[in-house]
């Protein structure tokens, strides 16, 4: 198992290094000098030079890359070109909204998808199966931001159960904050739950047709016992991959949903940064998102190793 972990860890590090190189070089090829952009067209040459020095722009590319990377490792993401405040502060301010939102949505999606997928697979062809398949077919096709808008119309404007948007802050109390995140989380979760339920169903159907299920039945296990003791754990292995991919998607996809609900999360930060050409913020947020995706994939790989003894030894 240790060897397996080390191997995955090695892959994680390589991915991170290459990803950071890609992001850094992408942002660095941008035409235009942030310093002159920040100071406007009338700025004096020496003020620009001073600012360049202050921002660390006057050294070689390699040097800047290493400063950027070592900074990030120490939690220092640099200084925003526009606001002159540490990027790490700006990000952590926003993360307390975006991260809980993604986790909330993932939890909802899993809680809906697992039972739906299991019921559909075990009662193949039944009314329950057909309705799960029908609803998920629709769920996959609905853009989450549109679904969010519809929910705003119904639950916020007509029924007035929720506010139409905004975030009271965690200071307002856990439940008030969670309530504000509920509609966004549902909007994010619905299409994901649909995909997950379908994957769960087909994976479970595949597993249920395996030889070892027949062996279990021949031992005298009932259908239900076979399902819980033998099928589920095996069926879960491909489902884990999708959950991993979904977390990445939820984190990034949250950016769009945040716009519908006027949530001051990472999304708002990044769109502001794009309009203001605050590239260091863009660079850092993108790196953070990519880091999250890679980290989730790493965790999924480890979960694989736990779920499937075959992986611990080989590969």
């Amino acid at each position: 198992m240790l060897r397996y972990i080390l191997k995955r860890l090695q892959a994680l590090l390589i991915s991170l290094v290459v990803a950071s190189l890609v992001i850094f070089s992408a942002v660095e090829i941008v035409p235009g000098d942030p310093a002159s952009f920040m100071l406007g067209i009338n700025a004096q040459e020496d003020t620009i030079m001073a600012l360049r020095e202050q921002l660390g722009l006057n050294v070689s590319l390699t040097q800047r890359y290493f400063t950027w990377v070592t900074g990030m490792i120490q939690g220092d993401f640099g200084t925003s070109y526009t606001y002159r405040t540490p990027v790490s502060d700006m990000i952590s301010e926003r993360m307390v909204i975006s991260l809980p939102l993604a986790i909330y949505a993932l939890t909802l999606s899993t809680l809906i998808a697992f039972p739906a997928g299991i019921i559909a697979a075990t009662r193949r062809g039944s009314v329950a199966d057909v309705s799960v398949m029908g609803v998920t077919q629709l769920g996959v096709a609905i853009p989450n931001f549109w679904f969010a808008m519809l929910m705003v119309v119904v639950f916020a404007i007509n029924l007035r159960w929720f506010s139409a948007g905004g975030f009271p802050g965690w200071d307002a109390g856990f439940f008030a904050a969670m309530k504000a995140l509920t509609l966004p989380a549902i909007a994010l979760a619905l299409p994901q739950a649909s995909i997950l339920a379908r994957v769960m169903r087909s994976s479970l159907l595949d597993t249920l047709s395996e030889d070892f299920i027949r062996t279990a039945r021949a031992k005298g296990l009932t259908r239900r016992q076979t399902l819980w003791r033998h099928a589920l754990r095996n069926a879960l292995i491909p489902v884990l991959t999708i959950i991993g991919l979904q977390f990445a998607f939820l984190l990034a996809g949250g950016i769009i949903i945040e716009k519908v609900f006027f949530l001051p999360g990472l999304g708002q930060l990044i769109f502001q940064a794009i309009t203001q050409r605050d590239l260091i913020v863009v660079e850092s947020v993108v790196m953070l998102l990519v880091f999250a995706v890679i980290l989730v994939n790493f965790t999924v790989d480890l979960a694989y190793g736990l779920a499937d003894p075959r992986l611990r030894r080989s590969r």
Partner: protein, 278 residues
């Protein structure tokens, strides 16, 4: 497999009809739309759906039905080009990786794939927009790049199982090169997989384009697109819900149509595969 199989598949036919409705709407919009959508017609703004503006007008007095027809062009074009990019680059990569299985070729292609997978298309779009500014091209490139590893992976997976087949060994014994075998034997036999995946990526592309345009990273005004129409309706949705309803329905129906087609195709292709095996 013949025409009867396609006609008999209910989900394929339903999906095909839904998809064709929007494809025709897009094609017709080049020649004719119920109203011009270039001009602003303030006196006629925000009409509720009724004759002659069947789906109503927006805050600039533009006919929503006409906008949806023109918007279909953008959605379909972006998704189609993105699928093409994904296939044209991803499929050869997948074939090559499978043909050179276990070598550093395979390793590099697959690790590259993993890396691209770590960049959700939204993130790629953000990067491109931050650098070059927003445009429809961004959306195409962002979605297209994300499609590459999808096709590479599915091609490699299908190809790997085929390379184990005896008929591939026979072809090698007949002295055919890996490249020739890939094109002559592997590609036709993974085509079914690719067609099914193609319809799925097409539908995902339409969703992604709508999302990118919704947040301003895609198509720019004044070109109408479904995502932009939804973004424009956001502030008006309280009193004019129909402005958000119809473009959203257009997206849902197109995506649903493509997904149904994909499911239908999978069912049509699959039993034959099973039959030839047993």
């Amino acid at each position: 497999m013949n025409a009867a199989h396609f006609l008999r598949s209910r989900s394929f036919m339903l999906g095909l009809i839904l998809t064709l409705i929007f494809v025709f709407a897009a094609l017709i919009s080049f020649l004719w739309t119920p109203y011009e959508i270039d001009g602003v017609d303030i006196p006629n703004k925000l009409h509720a759906p009724a004759w002659p503006n069947l789906l109503g007008t927006d805050q600039y007095g533009r006919d929503v039905l006409s906008m949806i027809m023109v918007g279909a062009r953008v959605s379909i074009a972006v998704a189609l080009v993105a699928v093409t990019i994904g296939m044209v680059i991803g499929v050869p990569l997948g074939l090559a990786a499978a043909a050179k299985k276990g070598t550093w070729w395979d390793e590099i292609i697959m690790r590259g794939n993993d890396l691209v997978f770590a960049f959700p298309s939204l993130v790629i779009a953000i990067l491109i927009t931050a650098i070059f500014g927003a445009s429809a091209i961004n959306a195409i490139i962002a979605i297209g790049i994300f499609n590459i590893p999808v096709f590479a992976r599915i091609t490699r997976g299908g190809a790997l199982s085929l390379w184990e087949r005896d008929y591939i060994l026979s072809a090698r014994v007949a002295g055919k090169s890996p490249a020739r075998i890939s094109i002559e034997h592997i590609l036709p036999n993974v085509m079914n997989l690719l067609i099914v995946q193609g319809t799925i990526q097409f539908s995902l592309g339409i969703l992604a384009e709508a999302g990118l345009s919704f947040v301003g990273l895609g198509v720019q005004p004044p070109t109408p697109s479904w995502g932009r129409m939804l973004a424009d309706s956001q502030t008006l949705v309280y009193s004019y819900a129909y402005l958000a309803l119809f473009p959203g329905l257009a997206i849902v129906l197109t995506v649903l149509g493509l997904n149904l087609m994909g499911d239908g195709l999978r069912d049509i292709f699959d039993p034959k595969v099973r039959k030839s095996r047993t």
